[in-house]
Amino acid sequence: MRRIGDAPAVRRVLIGAAVVLSALFLLLPLVAIFAQAFSQGVGVFWGNVSNTYTLHAIALTLGVALFTIPICLVFGVALAWLVTRFSFPGRRLLQTLIDIPFAVSPVVAGLIYLLLYGRNGWVGTWLDSYDIQLMFAWPGILMVTVFVTCPFVARELIPLMQAQGSREEEAAVTLGARGWTLFRRVTLPNIRWALLYGVILTNARAVGEFGAVSVVSGAIRGKTNTLPLHLEQLYQDYNTVGAFASASLLALIALLTLAAKASLEWRASRREAFI
Protein backbone atom coordinates (compact mmCIF):
# COMPACT_ATOMS: atom_id res chain seq x y z
CA MET A 1 0.00 0.00 0.00
CA ARG A 2 1.39 3.36 -0.98
CA ARG A 3 -0.09 6.59 0.24
CA ILE A 4 0.53 10.28 -0.25
CA GLY A 5 3.47 11.49 1.82
CA ASP A 6 5.00 8.03 2.14
CA ALA A 7 8.39 9.02 0.76
CA PRO A 8 10.96 8.38 3.52
CA ALA A 9 12.36 11.91 3.37
CA VAL A 10 8.92 13.53 3.70
CA ARG A 11 8.05 11.15 6.49
CA ARG A 12 11.16 11.86 8.46
CA VAL A 13 10.89 15.62 8.09
CA LEU A 14 7.22 15.72 9.11
CA ILE A 15 7.59 13.38 12.07
CA GLY A 16 10.70 15.28 13.15
CA ALA A 17 8.94 18.62 12.93
CA ALA A 18 5.93 17.34 14.83
CA VAL A 19 8.01 15.81 17.61
CA VAL A 20 10.34 18.79 18.02
CA LEU A 21 7.53 21.35 18.01
CA SER A 22 5.43 19.32 20.43
CA ALA A 23 8.39 18.87 22.73
CA LEU A 24 9.11 22.60 22.76
CA PHE A 25 5.54 23.69 22.95
CA LEU A 26 3.95 21.08 25.21
CA LEU A 27 6.49 18.86 26.90
CA LEU A 28 8.90 21.61 27.95
CA PRO A 29 6.29 23.52 29.99
CA LEU A 30 5.28 20.29 31.68
CA VAL A 31 8.87 19.52 32.62
CA ALA A 32 9.37 23.13 33.74
CA ILE A 33 6.50 22.88 36.24
CA PHE A 34 8.08 20.00 38.12
CA ALA A 35 11.60 21.37 37.72
CA GLN A 36 10.53 24.66 39.32
CA ALA A 37 8.54 22.97 42.06
CA PHE A 38 11.51 20.86 43.11
CA SER A 39 14.19 23.47 42.31
CA GLN A 40 14.96 23.96 46.00
CA GLY A 41 14.73 20.32 46.92
CA VAL A 42 12.07 17.93 48.12
CA GLY A 43 12.05 19.42 51.60
CA VAL A 44 11.04 22.89 50.41
CA PHE A 45 8.47 21.33 48.08
CA TRP A 46 6.99 19.40 50.94
CA GLY A 47 6.99 22.50 53.11
CA ASN A 48 5.12 24.42 50.42
CA VAL A 49 2.56 21.72 49.90
CA SER A 50 1.90 21.02 53.58
CA ASN A 51 1.52 24.69 54.43
CA THR A 52 -1.87 25.41 56.06
CA TYR A 53 -3.07 27.72 53.32
CA THR A 54 -2.12 25.25 50.60
CA LEU A 55 -3.82 22.41 52.42
CA HIS A 56 -6.93 24.50 52.81
CA ALA A 57 -6.86 25.42 49.12
CA ILE A 58 -6.49 21.72 48.21
CA ALA A 59 -9.42 20.80 50.43
CA LEU A 60 -11.64 23.55 48.98
CA THR A 61 -10.69 22.66 45.41
CA LEU A 62 -11.39 18.97 45.87
CA GLY A 63 -14.58 19.72 47.79
CA VAL A 64 -15.89 21.88 44.96
CA ALA A 65 -15.01 19.20 42.41
CA LEU A 66 -16.72 16.59 44.58
CA PHE A 67 -20.00 18.53 44.48
CA THR A 68 -19.65 19.56 40.85
CA ILE A 69 -19.25 16.06 39.47
CA PRO A 70 -22.57 14.54 40.58
CA ILE A 71 -24.47 17.67 39.51
CA CYS A 72 -22.90 17.61 36.05
CA LEU A 73 -23.33 13.85 35.85
CA VAL A 74 -27.07 13.95 36.48
CA PHE A 75 -27.55 16.84 34.09
CA GLY A 76 -25.33 15.33 31.40
CA VAL A 77 -27.04 11.94 31.46
CA ALA A 78 -30.52 13.49 31.52
CA LEU A 79 -29.78 15.81 28.62
CA ALA A 80 -28.09 13.11 26.54
CA TRP A 81 -31.00 10.72 27.16
CA LEU A 82 -33.48 13.43 26.25
CA VAL A 83 -31.91 14.56 22.98
CA THR A 84 -30.86 11.13 21.72
CA ARG A 85 -33.88 9.05 22.71
CA PHE A 86 -36.81 11.36 21.97
CA SER A 87 -37.72 13.75 19.22
CA PHE A 88 -39.53 16.90 20.17
CA PRO A 89 -39.56 20.51 19.04
CA GLY A 90 -36.60 22.44 20.47
CA ARG A 91 -34.24 19.47 20.54
CA ARG A 92 -31.57 21.19 18.46
CA LEU A 93 -31.92 24.36 20.48
CA LEU A 94 -31.13 22.46 23.68
CA GLN A 95 -28.06 20.97 22.03
CA THR A 96 -26.84 24.41 21.00
CA LEU A 97 -27.53 25.92 24.41
CA ILE A 98 -25.24 23.54 26.25
CA ASP A 99 -22.32 24.81 24.17
CA ILE A 100 -22.67 28.27 25.71
CA PRO A 101 -20.16 27.63 28.51
CA PHE A 102 -17.55 26.67 25.91
CA ALA A 103 -17.92 29.97 24.10
CA VAL A 104 -18.32 32.28 27.07
CA SER A 105 -15.10 33.69 28.47
CA PRO A 106 -14.60 32.45 32.05
CA VAL A 107 -14.35 36.02 33.29
CA VAL A 108 -17.70 36.83 31.71
CA ALA A 109 -19.15 33.67 33.27
CA GLY A 110 -17.98 34.80 36.70
CA LEU A 111 -19.30 38.30 36.06
CA ILE A 112 -22.86 37.26 35.18
CA TYR A 113 -23.07 35.19 38.35
CA LEU A 114 -21.70 38.06 40.37
CA LEU A 115 -24.22 40.45 38.85
CA LEU A 116 -27.18 38.21 39.63
CA TYR A 117 -26.24 36.79 43.02
CA GLY A 118 -23.99 39.60 44.30
CA ARG A 119 -25.14 42.36 46.62
CA ASN A 120 -26.41 44.44 43.68
CA GLY A 121 -28.20 41.67 41.78
CA TRP A 122 -31.92 41.05 42.19
CA VAL A 123 -31.48 37.53 43.51
CA GLY A 124 -28.55 38.62 45.65
CA THR A 125 -30.51 41.43 47.29
CA TRP A 126 -33.32 39.06 48.08
CA LEU A 127 -30.96 36.46 49.52
CA ASP A 128 -29.17 39.17 51.47
CA SER A 129 -32.40 39.96 53.31
CA TYR A 130 -32.23 36.39 54.65
CA ASP A 131 -28.55 36.89 55.40
CA ILE A 132 -27.47 34.40 52.78
CA GLN A 133 -24.36 35.31 50.86
CA LEU A 134 -23.42 33.17 47.89
CA MET A 135 -20.78 35.30 46.23
CA PHE A 136 -17.28 35.55 47.73
CA ALA A 137 -18.00 32.23 49.47
CA TRP A 138 -17.76 28.59 48.49
CA PRO A 139 -21.33 28.30 47.10
CA GLY A 140 -20.43 30.94 44.51
CA ILE A 141 -17.30 29.03 43.54
CA LEU A 142 -19.35 25.87 43.18
CA MET A 143 -21.98 27.65 41.05
CA VAL A 144 -19.55 29.08 38.50
CA THR A 145 -17.64 25.79 38.41
CA VAL A 146 -20.86 23.98 37.55
CA PHE A 147 -21.47 26.57 34.83
CA VAL A 148 -18.11 26.08 33.12
CA THR A 149 -18.06 22.28 33.46
CA CYS A 150 -21.66 21.32 32.69
CA PRO A 151 -21.22 20.55 28.98
CA PHE A 152 -18.50 17.92 29.36
CA VAL A 153 -20.52 14.83 30.30
CA ALA A 154 -23.32 15.62 27.85
CA ARG A 155 -20.81 16.35 25.10
CA GLU A 156 -19.17 12.94 25.56
CA LEU A 157 -22.44 11.03 25.73
CA ILE A 158 -24.51 12.60 22.96
CA PRO A 159 -22.46 11.53 19.92
CA LEU A 160 -22.02 8.02 21.34
CA MET A 161 -25.67 7.52 22.23
CA GLN A 162 -26.70 8.93 18.88
CA ALA A 163 -24.44 6.47 17.08
CA GLN A 164 -25.66 3.53 19.16
CA GLY A 165 -29.31 4.35 18.52
CA SER A 166 -32.17 3.17 20.68
CA ARG A 167 -32.62 -0.32 19.25
CA GLU A 168 -31.29 -2.11 22.30
CA GLU A 169 -33.48 -0.02 24.59
CA GLU A 170 -36.50 -0.74 22.40
CA ALA A 171 -35.71 -4.44 22.54
CA ALA A 172 -35.49 -4.23 26.32
CA VAL A 173 -38.87 -2.50 26.47
CA THR A 174 -40.53 -5.21 24.39
CA LEU A 175 -39.13 -7.67 26.93
CA GLY A 176 -40.81 -5.76 29.73
CA ALA A 177 -37.97 -3.69 31.21
CA ARG A 178 -38.97 -0.50 33.03
CA GLY A 179 -37.34 2.88 33.72
CA TRP A 180 -34.37 2.48 36.00
CA THR A 181 -33.81 -1.22 35.21
CA LEU A 182 -33.71 -0.37 31.52
CA PHE A 183 -31.13 2.36 32.02
CA ARG A 184 -28.99 0.42 34.45
CA ARG A 185 -28.93 -2.89 32.63
CA VAL A 186 -29.02 -1.89 28.97
CA THR A 187 -27.91 1.74 28.49
CA LEU A 188 -25.34 2.17 31.23
CA PRO A 189 -23.07 -0.75 30.24
CA ASN A 190 -22.86 0.69 26.72
CA ILE A 191 -21.97 4.22 27.76
CA ARG A 192 -19.96 3.66 30.93
CA TRP A 193 -16.56 4.48 29.44
CA ALA A 194 -17.76 7.67 27.79
CA LEU A 195 -19.44 8.55 31.06
CA LEU A 196 -16.25 7.95 32.97
CA TYR A 197 -14.28 10.06 30.53
CA GLY A 198 -16.85 12.84 30.83
CA VAL A 199 -16.44 12.73 34.60
CA ILE A 200 -12.65 12.87 34.32
CA LEU A 201 -12.85 15.92 32.04
CA THR A 202 -15.36 17.55 34.37
CA ASN A 203 -13.03 16.94 37.26
CA ALA A 204 -9.99 18.31 35.42
CA ARG A 205 -11.82 21.49 34.52
CA ALA A 206 -13.46 21.85 37.94
CA VAL A 207 -10.16 21.55 39.72
CA GLY A 208 -8.40 23.97 37.41
CA GLU A 209 -10.96 26.68 36.74
CA PHE A 210 -9.37 30.08 37.27
CA GLY A 211 -11.02 32.99 35.45
CA ALA A 212 -14.58 32.48 36.58
CA VAL A 213 -13.62 31.50 40.11
CA SER A 214 -11.30 34.46 40.54
CA VAL A 215 -14.22 36.82 39.85
CA VAL A 216 -16.59 35.33 42.43
CA SER A 217 -14.29 34.00 45.13
CA GLY A 218 -12.76 37.10 46.68
CA ALA A 219 -9.64 34.96 47.15
CA ILE A 220 -9.47 35.15 50.92
CA ARG A 221 -6.52 33.07 52.02
CA GLY A 222 -7.57 30.10 54.10
CA LYS A 223 -11.22 30.71 53.27
CA THR A 224 -12.18 31.05 49.62
CA ASN A 225 -8.90 30.36 47.92
CA THR A 226 -8.89 27.46 45.50
CA LEU A 227 -5.64 25.92 44.38
CA PRO A 228 -5.36 27.92 41.12
CA LEU A 229 -6.10 31.17 42.99
CA HIS A 230 -3.64 30.22 45.69
CA LEU A 231 -0.84 29.65 43.19
CA GLU A 232 -1.62 32.98 41.53
CA GLN A 233 -1.23 34.77 44.84
CA LEU A 234 2.05 33.04 45.56
CA TYR A 235 3.28 33.90 42.08
CA GLN A 236 2.31 37.57 42.46
CA ASP A 237 4.14 37.58 45.80
CA TYR A 238 7.29 36.43 43.96
CA ASN A 239 7.13 33.07 45.75
CA THR A 240 7.71 31.23 42.45
CA VAL A 241 8.77 27.95 43.98
CA GLY A 242 5.73 27.90 46.23
CA ALA A 243 3.47 28.70 43.27
CA PHE A 244 4.95 25.87 41.26
CA ALA A 245 4.57 23.45 44.14
CA SER A 246 0.80 24.03 43.95
CA ALA A 247 0.99 24.04 40.15
CA SER A 248 2.69 20.65 40.19
CA LEU A 249 -0.23 19.18 42.13
CA LEU A 250 -2.63 20.45 39.48
CA ALA A 251 -0.31 19.27 36.72
CA LEU A 252 -0.32 15.82 38.32
CA ILE A 253 -4.12 15.72 38.09
CA ALA A 254 -3.80 16.79 34.45
CA LEU A 255 -1.35 13.96 33.77
CA LEU A 256 -3.65 11.45 35.44
CA THR A 257 -6.46 12.77 33.25
CA LEU A 258 -4.38 12.24 30.12
CA ALA A 259 -3.39 8.75 31.22
CA ALA A 260 -7.02 7.87 31.93
CA LYS A 261 -8.06 9.16 28.54
CA ALA A 262 -5.34 7.23 26.75
CA SER A 263 -6.24 4.00 28.50
CA LEU A 264 -9.96 4.46 27.87
CA GLU A 265 -9.27 5.09 24.19
CA TRP A 266 -7.03 2.08 24.02
CA ARG A 267 -9.81 0.03 25.56
CA ALA A 268 -12.31 1.35 23.06
CA SER A 269 -10.05 0.59 20.10
CA ARG A 270 -9.47 -2.92 21.38
CA ARG A 271 -13.20 -3.47 21.73
CA GLU A 272 -13.69 -2.27 18.19
CA ALA A 273 -11.03 -4.59 16.86
CA PHE A 274 -12.64 -7.39 18.82
CA ILE A 275 -16.06 -6.73 17.32
Binding site: R3, A18, I33, L79, F102, L111, I112, L115, I253, L258
Partner: protein, 288 residues
Amino acid sequence: MSLAALSTRRIAAGQKRVLPGFGLSMGISVLFISLVLLLPMTGLFGQLAELSLAEYWAIVTEGRVVASYMVTIGAAAVAAMVNAIFGLLLAWVLVRYEFPGKRLLDALMDLPFALPTAVAGITLATLYASSGWMGSILEPLGFQVAYTWVGIALAMAFTSIPFVVRTVQPVLEDMPNEVDEAAMSLGARDGVAFRRVIIPHLWPAIVTGTGLAFVRSLGEFGAIIFIAGNTPYETEITALMIFVKLQEYDYAGASAIASVVLFVSLTLLLAINIWQGRFIRRLHGGKG
Protein backbone atom coordinates in the same frame (compact mmCIF):
# COMPACT_ATOMS: atom_id res chain seq x y z
CA MET B 1 -51.25 -10.16 35.17
CA SER B 2 -53.84 -10.53 32.43
CA LEU B 3 -54.15 -8.22 29.49
CA ALA B 4 -57.67 -7.34 30.50
CA ALA B 5 -56.43 -6.11 33.86
CA LEU B 6 -53.73 -4.11 32.16
CA SER B 7 -55.99 -2.39 29.72
CA THR B 8 -57.85 -0.88 32.62
CA ARG B 9 -54.57 0.55 33.87
CA ARG B 10 -54.22 2.74 30.82
CA ILE B 11 -51.73 5.47 30.48
CA ALA B 12 -53.26 8.87 29.82
CA ALA B 13 -53.62 9.47 26.10
CA GLY B 14 -50.88 11.62 24.58
CA GLN B 15 -48.28 10.71 27.16
CA LYS B 16 -47.41 7.30 25.90
CA ARG B 17 -43.79 7.16 24.81
CA VAL B 18 -42.03 3.90 24.17
CA LEU B 19 -38.89 4.64 26.17
CA PRO B 20 -39.22 5.80 29.75
CA GLY B 21 -37.90 8.97 31.32
CA PHE B 22 -39.07 11.66 28.93
CA GLY B 23 -40.66 13.80 31.61
CA LEU B 24 -37.84 13.31 34.08
CA SER B 25 -35.00 14.03 31.66
CA MET B 26 -36.88 16.96 30.14
CA GLY B 27 -37.51 18.36 33.61
CA ILE B 28 -33.91 18.06 34.72
CA SER B 29 -32.51 19.45 31.47
CA VAL B 30 -34.83 22.42 31.20
CA LEU B 31 -34.53 23.26 34.90
CA PHE B 32 -30.76 23.04 34.77
CA ILE B 33 -30.35 25.03 31.56
CA SER B 34 -32.72 27.72 32.81
CA LEU B 35 -31.13 28.03 36.23
CA VAL B 36 -27.48 27.58 35.38
CA LEU B 37 -27.16 28.94 31.85
CA LEU B 38 -30.00 31.35 31.16
CA LEU B 39 -31.03 32.90 34.46
CA PRO B 40 -27.57 34.42 35.17
CA MET B 41 -27.77 36.19 31.82
CA THR B 42 -30.63 38.26 33.22
CA GLY B 43 -28.20 39.76 35.74
CA LEU B 44 -26.12 41.08 32.87
CA PHE B 45 -29.12 42.58 31.10
CA GLY B 46 -30.37 44.09 34.35
CA GLN B 47 -27.06 45.80 34.85
CA LEU B 48 -26.93 46.98 31.23
CA ALA B 49 -30.43 48.43 31.50
CA GLU B 50 -29.10 50.93 33.98
CA LEU B 51 -26.85 52.44 31.32
CA SER B 52 -28.05 54.90 28.70
CA LEU B 53 -27.10 54.14 25.13
CA ALA B 54 -24.61 57.03 25.11
CA GLU B 55 -22.97 55.82 28.32
CA TYR B 56 -22.81 52.29 26.96
CA TRP B 57 -21.26 53.49 23.74
CA ALA B 58 -18.73 55.62 25.62
CA ILE B 59 -17.58 52.65 27.69
CA VAL B 60 -17.23 50.16 24.89
CA THR B 61 -15.43 52.60 22.57
CA GLU B 62 -13.05 54.07 25.13
CA GLY B 63 -9.50 54.16 23.77
CA ARG B 64 -7.99 51.71 26.22
CA VAL B 65 -10.84 49.23 25.69
CA VAL B 66 -10.63 49.50 21.90
CA ALA B 67 -6.89 48.89 22.14
CA SER B 68 -7.66 45.74 24.14
CA TYR B 69 -10.01 44.52 21.38
CA MET B 70 -7.22 44.99 18.86
CA VAL B 71 -4.68 43.16 20.99
CA THR B 72 -7.11 40.31 21.74
CA ILE B 73 -8.38 39.85 18.19
CA GLY B 74 -4.94 40.24 16.64
CA ALA B 75 -3.26 37.79 18.98
CA ALA B 76 -6.17 35.33 18.74
CA ALA B 77 -6.02 35.44 14.95
CA VAL B 78 -2.29 34.75 14.95
CA ALA B 79 -2.75 31.96 17.52
CA ALA B 80 -5.54 30.40 15.44
CA MET B 81 -3.44 30.50 12.28
CA VAL B 82 -0.46 28.96 14.01
CA ASN B 83 -2.74 26.29 15.39
CA ALA B 84 -4.25 25.58 11.98
CA ILE B 85 -0.81 24.74 10.61
CA PHE B 86 0.54 23.02 13.70
CA GLY B 87 -2.73 21.11 14.17
CA LEU B 88 -2.78 19.92 10.58
CA LEU B 89 0.83 18.75 10.84
CA LEU B 90 0.18 16.90 14.09
CA ALA B 91 -3.06 15.32 12.87
CA TRP B 92 -1.33 14.17 9.70
CA VAL B 93 1.65 12.70 11.51
CA LEU B 94 -0.54 10.98 14.12
CA VAL B 95 -2.88 9.41 11.56
CA ARG B 96 -0.57 8.57 8.66
CA TYR B 97 2.67 7.44 10.23
CA GLU B 98 3.76 4.80 12.69
CA PHE B 99 6.73 5.63 14.90
CA PRO B 100 7.89 4.94 18.44
CA GLY B 101 6.34 7.29 20.98
CA LYS B 102 3.30 7.96 18.83
CA ARG B 103 0.79 7.12 21.55
CA LEU B 104 2.63 9.39 23.95
CA LEU B 105 2.56 12.23 21.44
CA ASP B 106 -1.13 11.61 20.87
CA ALA B 107 -1.84 11.76 24.60
CA LEU B 108 0.25 14.92 24.94
CA MET B 109 -2.05 16.75 22.52
CA ASP B 110 -4.76 16.97 25.16
CA LEU B 111 -2.47 18.50 27.76
CA PRO B 112 -3.66 22.10 27.20
CA PHE B 113 -7.25 21.09 27.99
CA ALA B 114 -6.28 19.06 31.03
CA LEU B 115 -3.81 21.54 32.47
CA PRO B 116 -5.40 24.38 34.48
CA THR B 117 -4.99 27.66 32.66
CA ALA B 118 -3.37 29.39 35.61
CA VAL B 119 -0.72 26.67 35.70
CA ALA B 120 -0.09 27.11 32.00
CA GLY B 121 0.05 30.85 32.55
CA ILE B 122 2.72 30.93 35.24
CA THR B 123 4.71 28.21 33.48
CA LEU B 124 4.82 30.02 30.14
CA ALA B 125 5.61 33.31 31.89
CA THR B 126 8.49 31.68 33.76
CA LEU B 127 9.80 29.86 30.69
CA TYR B 128 9.81 32.90 28.43
CA ALA B 129 10.91 35.52 30.96
CA SER B 130 14.41 36.79 30.26
CA SER B 131 15.81 34.48 32.94
CA GLY B 132 13.73 31.49 31.85
CA TRP B 133 14.85 28.47 29.81
CA MET B 134 13.39 29.78 26.55
CA GLY B 135 13.72 33.48 27.26
CA SER B 136 17.44 33.24 27.95
CA ILE B 137 17.93 31.70 24.50
CA LEU B 138 15.51 33.88 22.55
CA GLU B 139 16.20 37.30 24.02
CA PRO B 140 19.88 37.54 23.02
CA LEU B 141 18.66 36.74 19.49
CA GLY B 142 16.33 39.73 19.65
CA PHE B 143 13.04 37.90 20.25
CA GLN B 144 11.15 39.35 23.18
CA VAL B 145 8.23 37.06 24.01
CA ALA B 146 7.19 37.68 27.60
CA TYR B 147 5.27 40.91 28.24
CA THR B 148 4.62 41.50 24.51
CA TRP B 149 1.68 40.55 22.31
CA VAL B 150 3.78 37.63 21.04
CA GLY B 151 3.55 36.20 24.53
CA ILE B 152 -0.23 36.69 24.49
CA ALA B 153 -0.46 34.87 21.15
CA LEU B 154 1.78 32.10 22.49
CA ALA B 155 -0.41 31.57 25.54
CA MET B 156 -3.55 31.59 23.39
CA ALA B 157 -1.98 29.12 20.95
CA PHE B 158 -1.02 26.83 23.83
CA THR B 159 -4.48 26.66 25.36
CA SER B 160 -6.24 26.01 22.04
CA ILE B 161 -3.93 23.44 20.44
CA PRO B 162 -6.32 20.48 20.77
CA PHE B 163 -9.13 22.10 18.76
CA VAL B 164 -7.59 21.74 15.29
CA VAL B 165 -5.80 18.45 16.00
CA ARG B 166 -8.88 16.79 17.42
CA THR B 167 -11.29 17.97 14.71
CA VAL B 168 -9.00 17.12 11.79
CA GLN B 169 -7.80 13.77 13.14
CA PRO B 170 -11.06 11.79 12.86
CA VAL B 171 -11.80 13.16 9.39
CA LEU B 172 -8.37 12.15 8.20
CA GLU B 173 -8.79 8.73 9.79
CA ASP B 174 -12.09 8.18 7.97
CA MET B 175 -10.63 9.18 4.64
CA PRO B 176 -10.48 5.98 2.60
CA ASN B 177 -7.19 4.93 1.09
CA GLU B 178 -8.84 4.88 -2.33
CA VAL B 179 -8.73 8.68 -2.37
CA ASP B 180 -4.93 8.61 -2.20
CA GLU B 181 -4.74 5.83 -4.72
CA ALA B 182 -7.12 7.49 -7.14
CA ALA B 183 -5.15 10.75 -6.98
CA MET B 184 -1.87 8.95 -7.58
CA SER B 185 -3.26 6.72 -10.33
CA LEU B 186 -4.33 9.89 -12.11
CA GLY B 187 -0.70 10.95 -12.09
CA ALA B 188 -0.75 13.57 -9.33
CA ARG B 189 2.53 14.10 -7.52
CA ASP B 190 2.41 14.09 -3.70
CA GLY B 191 2.43 17.87 -3.31
CA VAL B 192 -0.28 18.38 -5.90
CA ALA B 193 -2.39 15.51 -4.55
CA PHE B 194 -2.13 16.90 -1.05
CA ARG B 195 -3.17 20.36 -2.12
CA ARG B 196 -5.89 19.38 -4.57
CA VAL B 197 -7.35 16.26 -2.95
CA ILE B 198 -6.55 16.06 0.75
CA ILE B 199 -6.77 19.70 1.79
CA PRO B 200 -10.24 20.20 0.23
CA HIS B 201 -11.42 17.07 2.02
CA LEU B 202 -10.13 18.32 5.37
CA TRP B 203 -11.07 21.94 4.79
CA PRO B 204 -14.36 21.98 6.75
CA ALA B 205 -12.67 20.33 9.73
CA ILE B 206 -9.75 22.75 9.58
CA VAL B 207 -12.09 25.74 9.46
CA THR B 208 -14.24 24.42 12.32
CA GLY B 209 -11.21 23.64 14.48
CA THR B 210 -9.56 26.97 13.75
CA GLY B 211 -12.82 28.80 14.45
CA LEU B 212 -13.20 27.06 17.81
CA ALA B 213 -9.58 27.82 18.67
CA PHE B 214 -10.20 31.48 17.80
CA VAL B 215 -13.32 31.71 19.98
CA ARG B 216 -11.52 30.07 22.86
CA SER B 217 -8.57 32.44 22.50
CA LEU B 218 -10.83 35.49 22.56
CA GLY B 219 -12.10 34.51 25.99
CA GLU B 220 -8.93 33.08 27.52
CA PHE B 221 -7.83 34.74 30.73
CA GLY B 222 -5.82 32.63 33.16
CA ALA B 223 -3.10 31.53 30.78
CA ILE B 224 -2.54 35.04 29.42
CA ILE B 225 -2.45 37.51 32.28
CA PHE B 226 0.83 36.22 33.67
CA ILE B 227 2.77 36.49 30.43
CA ALA B 228 1.02 39.55 28.99
CA GLY B 229 2.61 42.26 31.12
CA ASN B 230 -0.74 44.05 31.08
CA THR B 231 0.50 47.43 29.91
CA PRO B 232 -2.49 49.68 29.06
CA TYR B 233 -2.98 50.24 25.31
CA GLU B 234 -0.34 47.64 24.48
CA THR B 235 -0.71 44.26 26.13
CA GLU B 236 -4.08 44.32 27.85
CA ILE B 237 -6.63 41.77 26.71
CA THR B 238 -10.36 42.42 26.85
CA ALA B 239 -11.02 39.78 29.53
CA LEU B 240 -8.54 41.63 31.72
CA MET B 241 -10.37 44.92 31.10
CA ILE B 242 -13.52 43.35 32.51
CA PHE B 243 -11.57 42.08 35.48
CA VAL B 244 -9.98 45.48 36.12
CA LYS B 245 -13.38 47.23 35.98
CA LEU B 246 -14.70 44.69 38.48
CA GLN B 247 -11.89 45.34 40.91
CA GLU B 248 -12.76 49.02 40.69
CA TYR B 249 -16.37 48.02 41.51
CA ASP B 250 -17.40 49.51 38.15
CA TYR B 251 -20.05 46.82 37.51
CA ALA B 252 -21.71 48.81 34.74
CA GLY B 253 -18.45 49.21 32.86
CA ALA B 254 -17.59 45.53 33.30
CA SER B 255 -21.05 44.50 32.06
CA ALA B 256 -20.85 46.72 29.00
CA ILE B 257 -17.54 45.24 27.89
CA ALA B 258 -18.69 41.74 28.83
CA SER B 259 -21.78 42.17 26.63
CA VAL B 260 -19.54 42.89 23.65
CA VAL B 261 -17.41 39.82 24.34
CA LEU B 262 -20.48 37.67 24.94
CA PHE B 263 -22.16 38.84 21.76
CA VAL B 264 -19.09 38.22 19.62
CA SER B 265 -18.37 34.76 21.03
CA LEU B 266 -22.00 33.56 20.88
CA THR B 267 -22.32 34.82 17.30
CA LEU B 268 -19.14 33.03 16.31
CA LEU B 269 -20.29 29.85 18.05
CA LEU B 270 -23.60 29.96 16.21
CA ALA B 271 -21.83 30.61 12.91
CA ILE B 272 -19.53 27.63 13.47
CA ASN B 273 -22.50 25.43 14.38
CA ILE B 274 -24.39 26.41 11.24
CA TRP B 275 -21.35 25.96 9.06
CA GLN B 276 -20.75 22.53 10.57
CA GLY B 277 -24.38 21.54 10.07
CA ARG B 278 -24.22 22.49 6.42
CA PHE B 279 -21.05 20.53 5.97
CA ILE B 280 -22.50 17.45 7.62
CA ARG B 281 -25.54 17.66 5.37
CA ARG B 282 -23.31 17.92 2.32
CA LEU B 283 -21.34 14.84 3.29
CA HIS B 284 -24.10 12.65 4.63
CA GLY B 285 -27.13 14.09 2.83
CA GLY B 286 -30.55 14.77 4.34
CA LYS B 287 -30.56 15.24 8.06
CA GLY B 288 -27.72 17.06 9.71
